[in-house]
Symmetry: C2
Subunit: 606 residues, 2 copies
């Protein structure tokens, strides 16, 4: 049943030989790798003005210089990552670059930051995609969490199947999004020039507006920095480009940077021109599209393509997270099974973990983009900073020609992203960043602990033909309740293993003991039967005591084997109708002793 549902959803398992690496053109690569970065323009402007509105509508003007600052930061990042692309043609994620150049502990910090980053990308992008939908269809507003979870489930199933045609599938909606946003910006600006802005609705501010302080501006800046999430994606995926890989990747990165500048800058300008006030029910982009187009076809095109690209952005994490956790699993910092490919050659465990944690976040934060975002940027900028720092060290060590120029660019990137990281951590600390700041060292500690365990185990398990005490003799203990067919079968089985067999019965009911003794004498007279007294009606403890005694009497080269007669019932519920003494005994012996415990099963009622 379970198998059938699994097959229907996930598809038939795929042969290991089917694993292949698709190479994609720049055009497709832009779509595949930039959906995360592009999609963040859907909420970045809104986040800036949500902070500024605290100081009243007049303060919204500051969104323009703040956006300009963020775009400068973008330019620095693009130039920095361009260098990473050339230096790591095999893919230069923050974990690899930091681990390579700054050592494993720093690499793990970057890895922890990335893990959090990927999870939040899914949560934030899905929530924002749902917000785009509920802005267009307000009736669905109360079902945000449910819709978001539904989309995560769809993404999970698609990714467990393995999206081999991903590039083609992703390309279409990404370009529709870019086109519809360009059309929105163009129309919006032309309309403004021709007709000016519509009259401003008077807004009743709740409470007195606060002063425009430097802290408020920094908070708005931090909030807007979410526009930069996903910029690093191309540098991770260099090997997927057609040759010359690095060059094509670098061109794609520059192109993506330009598109973000236009979209994010344009939306911020339009939000100012049309005096958009952020609202809980409708996104800023929806409000702009509403004013520019009215609720016609183009409005819905903008909303639907925004939602689509946001889901695609969530989807990119479904590629990145399982890959990262498989690398961490392979390196022994996460459970090894994270590195195992599932039925469809994808890292299924990573996909399921990602979907589960992101869903929990959606539920906890009730699907609110604004509540999730403070957690987002810290991880992103921490991985930016560590990645750039790694690159700086790399240039200083290798001293290729032009190393100083390269180091300078990455150095500026490192310093700027480092400063922004501190600004974000401070300004967003109380609204959620503290969670991430606590979580990263915890994750690193978990990585280290797991790794230490794997190393210790490997040392203890190592075998190079060391001569060990060879056992030569078996002593077999069979716990019996009554002399049934199953017990008789177990005794026959035991006789093939060793002549040294003892049956042991825990006596609770005297009448039963007498009956057993008589029957035993009749049918199994050659096997000794030991009856243990149990005045407190316990079964397992007297048996353990007996096994301990036997062990104490046993020589070095003798081994004890406990055979448990077990009958397997036809239906699961029948299992609960029989004494589970065997199960308890097996578990305790396995946990406590180096004694072999075997179930001798007989199937009953089949």
């Amino acid at each position: 049943m379970f198998r059938f549902i699994k097959r229907a959803l996930i598809g038939q398992p795929m042969h290991s030989a089917q694993l292949k690496h698709e190479r994609i053109s720049k055009k497709k690569a832009l779509a595949v790798f930039s959906s995360d970065a592009l999609s963040s323009v859907a909420y970045a402007t809104e986040e800036i003005i949500l902070v500024l509105i605290l100081a009243g509508t007049s303060a919204l003007f500051y969104s323009l210089p703040i956006a300009a600052g963020i775009l400068t930061l973008l330019a620095i990042l693009v130039l920095s990552y361009r260098q990473t692309i050339y230096a790591y043609p095999s893919g230069g994620g923050a974990y690899i670059v930091a681990k390579d150049n700054l050592g494993t502990p720093t690499g793990l910090i970057a890895g922890a930051a990335l893990i959090i980053d990927y999870i939040l990308t899914v949560a934030v992008s899905t929530a924002a995609g749902v917000a785009a939908i509920t802005s267009a269809f307000p009736a669905m507003h109360n079902h945000k969490v449910l819709i978001a979870l539904l989309f995560i489930i769809i993404l999970t199933v698609l990714n467990l199947r393995g999206i081999t045609e991903s590039a083609t599938i992703l390309a279409v909606p990404t370009y529709i999004f870019i086109a519809s946003m360009f059309f929105l910006l163009g129309t919006g600006i032309v309309k403004y020039i021709l007709y000016g802005a519509p009259p401003v609705e008077s807004v009743t501010n709740t409470g007195l507006p606060v002063q425009v302080t430097l802290f408020l501006l920094l908070r708005a800046f931090s909030a807007g920095c979410t526009a930069l999430t996903g910029v690093e994606a191309i540098s991770n995926g260099v090997p997927a480009f057609k040759p010359p890989e690095s060059k094509n990747a670098a061109i794609t990165l520059m192109l993506m940077g330009c598109i973000i500048v236009i979209l994010f800058g344009g939306i911020t300008v339009l939000a100012n021109l049309y005096h958009i006030i952020p609202s809980h029910e409708e996104t800023v982009v929806s409000q702009i599209a509403s004013v520019v187009f009215g609720r016609n076809f183009f409005y819905f095109l903008v909303q639907v393509s925004t939602a689509t690209i946001l889901f695609l952005a969530a989807n990119t994490s479904f590629a990145g997270f399982p890959l990262l956790t498989s690398i961490l699993g392979h390196d022994g910092f996460l459970p090894r099974r994270m590195a195992a490919r599932g039925d469809r050659l994808v890292y299924s465990n990573g996909i399921v973990v990602l979907a589960t944690v992101a869903s929990i976040l959606i539920i906890i934060f009730r699907g609110e983009v604004h509540s999730l975002l403070p957690l987002y940027a810290v991880g992103v900028f921490l991985s930016f900073t560590l990645s750039q720092a790694g690159m700086v060290v790399r240039w200083l060590r290798q001293k290729h020609s032009g190393w100083f120029y390269h180091a300078l660019i990455n150095g500026i990137g490192m310093i700027v992203t480092g400063i922004v990281l501190v600004v974000i951590a401070v300004t967003k600390f109380s609204s959620g960043a503290w969670i991430v700041i606590i979580l990263i060292p915890i994750l690193v500690a978990v990585f280290m602990k797991i790794n230490k365990h794997y190393r210790e185990i490997a040392k203890e398990l190592a075998f190079h033909g060391e001569s060990m005490e060879k056992p030569t003799w078996q002593k077999i203990i069979i716990p019996v309740d009554s002399l049934t067919r199953v017990v008789a079968h177990t005794i026959d089985y035991a006789k093939t293993l060793s002549p040294d067999i003892v049956a042991v019965h825990v006596g609770v009911d005297e009448e039963k003991v007498e009956k057993l003794k008589i029957k035993w004498q009749e049918y199994e007279p050659d096997i000794p039967l030991v009856v243990l007294a149990s005045p407190y009606r316990e079964i397992v403890n007297p048996l353990l005591g007996f096994i301990n005694d036997q062990e104490a009497q046993t020589g070095q080269s003798e081994l004890i084997t406990v055979l448990i007669p077990e009958f397997v019932t036809r239906k699961w519920w029948q299992y609960f109708l029989h004494n589970q003494t065997g199960l308890v005994l097996k578990t305790i012996l396995l946990l406590r002793k180096d004694i072999v415990v075997a179930s001798v099963p007989v199937h009953i009622g089949h």
Copy 2:
């Protein structure tokens, strides 16, 4: 840790020899066996007037003839059960009487009714006890469910300890209750004669009062019949009386009947004299005591002793239910372990099941007595009817002297309780009785199904020295992942069992396979290593396929044993870091095949 808490709560385990049977005097027996019956006067009057109030305050007068009818029914029941006491000096519960005389299926119906009855006694009595407390201390009204659950937990712990001094403990509050109720009735009637009733507060009836119909009166009668619950208790406990057991039990039963007549009749009369209107916040008894005494010491004495006797009533089920389920377990109609005595010689499993189900009922019905009661009476009257029917058949079969007179009494009892059963089932059907009417046949079906399973298993397990195919030869299969110390140990162990050993590796990673082959050749050249291809990266299925093949090649007298090298980690969380292939393989083999699977454990890192 768990053991420590258990010992602190439950006490040290008791020796089987400590099991003893206490004999009690009539005075104590009245207290022990009648708390259930006496306590129901705390809510029976209220239930009657809660129905009558639907037809307006003037209809409350009908509570007097209805109470008279119920007391007539009580007289019939007392006379009937008096006969059961003499006929079954070893205890005549409805299950035993019905099974004895009407056959097993009817006995099981009575058993199902009794099980429901016992569970509801706990739920209803606890809820009513809490209502007595919250009437006196209205601040606690919102925590009804919590207080009720707390009392159930206390009762559970006390009963798991085993209440050996129960008779003495129970006697005191029961007599305090009887005394304080007599004092309330006496004072109430004297005060009424001297001063008359206080002025009636005008009550705003919500909605139009309905007509006084026969159906309404029957509903009120059904509701009041809850006063009769627990009347049968003495007939179950005859062996606990001092000799002459039956005579003493019969006298106690008559005495109890008289007390109920006075208390239930008296409260109903007082409720009429003082024009008591039922309320959601305060019980009828509390209102009467309030009017008669004012909120002084005597008021609180009535409330506290009412609450106490209600908890004692719940406690009687903690004796009756585990005894009944242990009998059903012993007879093979419930899991056998229900018949096993726990550490303190009580039937612990029954106690825990009772407490759990009653707690769930309390939670579902939010601790409301009035919501629980419609479920209560059906089970009680079904067991009354079946018990009387069994007695009638008994008299007709045995034809002792005076059989006609005896059969007549029990026959009247059967007919009257049968009619009342139908009335209750019909009038309370929609308000909850339907649940019980559905549940009883389900429970009976479960009993039968369990019994059928036990009988089948017993037949299949039976062993009388039948000659079976004796195995003579072991083929040992060892699944290996890599050649570790644990695997080497398993091979050494296997060599003591049989010379026919094969190791099998599932190849997922070609490089790993090659390394294993080389190492194997070096250290274990005398054991053949089979490498299975697994293009779909599955581990368990190829192993199962290999075991199937081996099984097909195996002769009749050959046996296959699978040895699983297993390393046991020091800490539980470390367990999750290793492949659970062994566990999955063990489970599947145990469920599917009669193949012996043994764990060969090595403890690592200890």
